[in-house]
Amino acid sequence: MFALLHDLLIAPFADFEFMRRALVGSVVLALAGAPIGVFLMLRRMSLTGDAMAHAILPGAALGYLVAGLSLPAMTIGGLAAGVLVALAAGAVARASVLREDTTLAAFYLTSLALGVVIVSMEGSNVDLLHVLFGSVLALDDAALTLIGGIATLTLVTLAAIFRPLVTDSVDPVFLRSLGGFGAPVHMTFMALVVMNLVGGFLALGTLLSVGMMMLPAASARLWTDDLTALLALAVPIGAVAAVSGLIAAYHLSLPAGPAIVLAAAVLYVLSLAFGRRGLLAARFGRRHLEA
């Protein structure tokens, strides 16, 4: 029995270094990505993460074009493209009649198209797949350091801007009345989103990295109405998804990145069904109270 469990759960990581690296990388991604996802969800920006992930592509592709599969070049390129699109979308929304969702759509689609053109100019389709879906099983020291650094910076920054961020989410007019907080908080948060997407895209690719943010957040929301609990719950959900996804990928020979996101999706469906605020509780909930 123990031998079986060992073979199933421990052996993949004990036997192969690339699995251990993937484990560290994906769990650390969940550590910072899940809280970011919680705030994206509460700020009704669940799809913004996805848009930003697309926006990162041309920067990473340019980096790839200039320096090949080089981590610093692709990271800097991705960060630059993401921050540029976020800033431009925010600035244009403030200065024109267009709302931020519209300006963001305009900028990220432009960015995405540019990215695909850049990738097709030089690389083969295999490279494109690499950029789009990442390579969690090929994380080297530099990539792990980057992911760890991003997670650390994210958690420290989130702690520092927690009160303004919560206030901006629940009552933005009030925060503005306090003078000068609104726009900087939003921009700082967007920068964190971009950073985490770049960290995630090394492992999961530009498209799937959003999965590690949004699925744990959505799952946690189905269990609790309390913000602190929500943040505390989303992280372990993300970590469990990372570990179980890697194990499933190993035994079933699945691509690791999608397997992790699918594991998160399974947790989401379970939460949707059995969560305290899930479908079954709503359908067969306890009887109503006196007052």
Binding site: V170, V173, G179
Partner: protein, 247 residues
């Protein structure tokens, strides 16, 4: 008596169309002023101007001894995300922002003050409730509790009693009277003229243009209000440039 707000030849508007046109006057410190007028008269616009949310397109607003960020402003349609998982206690505690800042913690004395503010608006026992579970009147009480903690010298209320039942209006009016008694300057946009006559000593009647401003008994009259109604002209896309701004 010193003034809390001084307004000179003020024009506020949207996309060059004036919503408040050439307003002159002052609001004395410690006064209790109602702003009344027909729909579209520029009442909310004026309040936003005083709160510093909207920049004048002509003239000026000067806050005396007070910075814009020290003004407590209750907007008409508070853009509050009621689905956000935050409790009444935490929400009301935001009123202490000026005192504890963006990073400071809530000490024991602050927690007591938050509790007192919640009690003052009659929401004892609601501390742990998420704001999403409150009724309209309870939410308005919650916002007043936050105003109490803001401890501002100048308080702006934009239609604070809309869609609120009589008992809640009475309770919240008690707070407005208390603030007046404490020497704070309170400005409120209101529609209920009977209430204005009963509680507010000063009234400004506007209809884009200033109509009348002064003691409520002299200003809130049938004749003045009829004049205000007549003065609201249709929004004209092709309106010429205002001749008075050339001067």
């Amino acid at each position: 008596m010193t003034n809390a707000v001084e307004i000179r030849d003020l024009t506020l508007g949207y996309d060059r169309h004036p919503a408040v046109h050439h307003l002159d006057g002052a609001i004395p410190q410690g006064s209790l002023t109602a702003i009344v007028g027909p729909n579209g008269a520029g009442k909310s616009t004026l309040v936003k101007g005083i709160a510093g949310v909207l920049r004048p397109i002509g003239g000026s607003i000067r806050l005396v001894d007070c910075e814009t960020r020290d003004v407590a402003h209750l907007p008409q349609t508070a853009e509050i995300d009621r689905s956000f998982p935050i409790t009444v206690f935490d929400f009301v505690a935001l009123g202490l922002w000026r005192r504890i800042g963006a990073f400071g913690g809530l000490g024991r004395s602050e927690r007591v003050r938050v509790g007192e503010a919640i009690a003052a608006v009659g929401l004892d026992g609601f501390e742990a409730r998420p704001i999403g579970t409150l009724s309209g009147g309870q939410m308005q009480r919650t916002l007043f509790a936050r105003l109490i903690l803001q401890d501002a010298a100048l308080i702006l209320l934009d239609e604070p009693f809309n869609a609120v039942d009589g008992r809640t209006v009475d309770d919240l009016l008690g707070l407005v009277r208390r603030w007046h008694g404490e020497g704070r300057t309170v400005i409120a946009v209101l529609h209920d003229l009977e209430l204005v006559r009963r509680v507010f000593p000063q009234t400004l009647v506007i209809a884009r243009e200033p109509v009348a401003w002064g003691a409520t008994a002299e200003v809130v009259t049938t004749e003045v209000l009829a004049r205000a109604r007549r003065m609201i002209e249709a929004f004209d896309l092709g309106a010429p440039v205002c001749a008075r701004s050339a001067a």
